[in-house]
């Protein structure tokens, strides 16, 4: 038998993939620096998913502290164990182990902002009663020092019942070695002593616990306390509802339970603060003065305008070269693949025009998403977003929204896709949905190619007074978009989404320099989410549309083309031959589309669009543009036999020359105006629908948005066409 020395395996050789020993909840107020602490503790070893049934994201990271492997859950910020929003509810539910698929935390890492101890202590006091091992990371200690505050850590630890406190600065890493060492030993930290008592509540809670234990349900005393305080807490069985109701009536009488708790606990908090904290010296730095000045209404508004302009410019100016690069890249890839695969077969077409183009149509959004979210995350991290919302709140309320909607709506002028993702910052659900539905109305950059083509070809380039007519029409289209969005929000908020005027209680974060690491992590997250959720839908739609334009193949068209090519080669040479061959190619493509499923669909729906003055070609192009508006120009090019890459002039020429079977021109001014209005109000973007689906967690809203906007676009086009005397 082998001796122990020979069978011992060195520690380093044991497989790295061990199960985590325990789960630690990272809990604290919003804007306390929780995520920064979490990111520093877990680095890239974190994983984001969704909690079941809600759009709240679950971030879990695994890390090793002193050889101990721990799972850290970054819980949404909360101010108390009585949740006031979905985010806070998730945090509380996870703490109590009530969320399916998420481990009940064994210990707690509380993250408290040292410059806002008053609110932090409220939550801390509730947490100490949970009876689990707990340590506290006291963040932004450098800011507290700058303000001249002094915190007696020992006194505070004692006041909390013996909870170890670790001052840290998340941005610089100061204090983290001690915190890491503490996490290694967290499971052996004794639970805090209870230092503040509410005898009546505790007695009532304990009697509830005892009664339910008899019925077979085990409840922690704190859970029972929360049940007694919260009006909407999930109760366990119907009998317990009566239990809880009578206990509440006896305990609180007419005083709202939340008010009673707040009054009691904050009295304790004030007493504790008096003992442990000495106030700042009140010295103000120049930077702080500047920020206070910028917070004033008028300087603030000016700053907001400048900032939005900057963001807008950045998204357009910086994104465009990147988008072009991606386009070129995918185009190049397509060519390479096309040269490898057998030409003219469905496989080649599927891979090149379906798959590669399809994937390309997803990737092409990334530059705009990245840039917009870089800005938004930076602004959020500095605390500016809340300030901006504060400024414009009054104006937004007049259209039924609230201040927090302004940045997502303004960003929609670049692209609605990242903006709708950005509506997460809006806590009120109804408000958020109203914003999501208003966003696609803002004239996004994808509408511009269509506008440019139609306005350039059909609106006379004259001056009306001092204004250029073409510019006027473009501006009018922007205005119509805004009007549509605002009216939609108003309509929704006064009917389907009727509800209280969104409450606007915000703890306004202090201005601080953005944490690059946090911003980068959040950015990566957004990209991952977009590629996975939205990307799959967009890709699927692109492939489907490809199939519609490709099938069924017609041998006759190919034969006709082959025959014509033979003729051409016999009669022409050199450049003339090249041009003729190109023309033949374009005509063949047009014929193919004419008899494809898409073309047939165009013919089929034509009667519905004839009142708008459209023929089957326009109808087919609009259908093909469904996944992405920009595609319409390329499809129009193909259908009118100038090829996909046709320049505007050639295409415009063809459009002007297009005729109905009875000889009348298709593209008259009224028809074009109607088409423009259709584009202004119609939702032709699978990407937008995909993110709406993701952000509202149901198909109901994207379907509604699409139907509603299509109906609006149709109605508007019809009205203009008829009113213009057609």
């Amino acid at each position: 038998m082998a001796s122990p020395a020979e069978t011992a395996v060195p520690l380093e050789r044991i497989a790295v993939n061990r199960k985590a020993v325990a789960t630690i909840a990272v809990v604290g107020n919003p804007n306390a620096g929780k995520s920064s602490v979490f990111n520093r503790l877990t680095g890239l070893r974190q994983h984001t998913a969704n909690y079941p049934g809600v759009t709240v994201e679950r971030r879990i990271g695994r890390s090793t502290f002193g050889g101990v492997s721990l799972d850290l859950i970054d819980l949404p910020g909360t101010y108390s164990l009585s949740p006031a929003s979905t985010d806070e509810k998730i945090a509380v539910d996870v703490l109590f182990g009530r969320v399916a698929g998420t481990q009940k935390p064994d210990a707690i890492l509380a993250v408290i902002d040292s410059t806002r101890l008053y609110q932090g202590l409220y939550l801390l006091q509730q947490l100490t009663a949970l009876g689990r091992p707990m340590i506290v990371a006291l963040t932004m200690i450098d800011a507290a020092e700058r303000e001249g505050r002094k915190i007696d850590l020992e006194a505070l630890e004692d006041a909390l019942g013996g909870v170890p406190i670790y001052p840290v600065v998340a941005t610089s890493g100061r204090g983290f070695p001690a915190l890491n060492a503490a996490l290694a030993k967290i499971l052996s930290v004794p639970p805090p002593r209870e230092t503040a008592h509410w005898p009546e509540l505790e007695r009532a809670a304990e009697s509830l616990v005892a009664r339910w234990r008899v019925r077979g349900t085990e409840l922690h005393r704190v859970e029972a306390e929360r049940l007694l305080i919260d009006a909407n807490a999930p109760t366990l069985t119907p009998e317990t509802v009566a239990d809880v109701a009578s206990a509440r009536a006896e305990l609180f009488g007419a005083e709202p339970p939340l008010a009673a708790e707040a009054r009691r606990r904050y009295a304790w908090v004030r007493g504790t603060l008096a003992r442990v904290e000495s106030p700042g010296s009140g010295v103000v730095t120049q930077a702080a003065r500047l920020i206070e000045w910028l917070n004033r209404p008028w300087p603030g508004t000016a700053a907001l305008i400048v900032l939005m302009f900057l963001v807008f410019q950045a998204v357009f100016a910086w994104a465009t070269p990147l988008v072009d690069l991606i386009d070129a890249g995918f185009g190049g890839l397509g060519s390479i693949v096309a040269s490898v695969l057998p030409a003219g077969t469905w496989i080649e077409s599927l891979v090149v025009k379906g798959i590669i183009a399809g994937v390309g149509s997803v990737i092409v959004f990334l530059p705009q998403i990245l840039i917009l979210f870089l800005f938004i995350n930076l602004l959020e991290d500095t605390g500016y977003l809340a300030r901006a919302a504060f400024l414009v709140d009054r104006a937004m309320r007049s259209v039924g929204l609230s201040g927090q909607s302004v940045i997502p709506l303004l960003s929609s002028f670049a692209c609605a896709v990242p903006s709708i993702m950005a509506t997460r910052v809006i806590p009120n659900r109804r408000d958020r949905i109203a914003t999501i539905l208003a966003a696609p109305f803002m004239t996004c950059s994808a509408r511009l190619p269509v506008y440019a083509l139609l306005i350039g070809a059909f609106v006379p380039a004259q001056r009306v007074g001092i204004v250029n007519l073409q510019g006027l029409v473009l501006f009018g289209l922007y205005a119509i978009g805004i009007i549509g969005g605002v009216a939609t929000a108003l309509l929704l908020r006064s009917s389907v989404l009727r509800g209280e005027n969104p409450t606007f209680i915000l703890a306004l974060p202090e201005f601080r320099l953005p944490n690059v690491r946090t911003v980068a992590m959040k950015l990566l997250d957004r990209v991952r989410v977009f590629l996975h959720r939205a990307g799959t839908i967009i890709f699927a739609v692109a492939v489907v549309v490809w199939a519609l334009t490709y099938f069924p193949r017609s041998p006759e068209v190919e034969q006709a083309r082959a025959a014509a090519e033979v003729e051409a080669r016999a009669a022409l040479t050199g450049p003339a031959l090249e041009r003729r061959l190109a023309d033949l190619g374009n005509e063949a493509a047009a014929d193919h589309i004419a008899q494809s499923w898409l073309g047939r669909a165009g013919h089929w729906v034509e009667p519905a669009f004839r009142p708008l003055g459209w023929d089957w070609k326009v109808s087919a192009a609009v259908i093909a543009g469904f996944p992405a508006r920009e595609v319409v120009v390329a499809v129009l090019g193909t259908i009118y036999a100038v090829g996909e890459e046709a320049d505007e002039e050639t295409l415009a020429g063809r459009l002007t020359a297009a005729r109905h079977p009875d000889g009348s021109p298709v593209f008259t001014l009224p028809m074009v105006l109607g088409l423009l209005l259709f584009y202004a109000w119609c939702l032709q973007c699978a990407a937008t629908l995909a993110v709406i689906r993701r952000e509202t967690n149901s198909w109901r809203w994207p379907v509604f948005a699409w139907s509603y906007m299509t109906a609006l676009g149709y109605g508007g086009a019809l009205l203009i066409y008829r009113l213009s005397g057609a």
Binding site: Y122, V284, W298, F504
Partner: protein, 100 residues
């Protein structure tokens, strides 16, 4: 003897310091503000109103909170200092630059 009209949070001017004295607790939004620390005895500094007068911003023991005018009306206060006067009770607030 007539009672003086009750002063609320909404009646303060920028720079005023006050102590919360009474609260109409029926509105859930008011209770939410209590959870954030606006309880009787708490000392607040009124900072500013936004464009259009609503919402307004206050500072309470180092934290800035914004709330709507109608919610502010539910909090009865007693003024402890005005903008031009010396700062009142200790708060540890950065905004007014008077060294202690």
């Amino acid at each position: 003897m007539s009672r003086s009209p009750l002063l609320t949070l909404a009646d303060l001017k920028p720079g005023d310091r006050a102590r919360i004295d009474s609260i109409e607790t029926a509105d859930p939004a008011v209770q939410r503000l209590m959870v954030l620390g606006l309880v009787e005895g708490a000392e607040v500094l009124f900072l500013r109103r936004s464009l259009g007068g609503d919402p307004l911003e206050i500072r309470i023991y180092g934290a800035a909170i914004s709330l709507r005018d109608e919610q502010a009306r539910r909090f009865g206060v007693v003024k402890t200092a005005s903008r031009d006067a010396q700062p009142g009770a200790r708060q540890g607030v950065v905004a007014n630059g008077q060294p202690r």
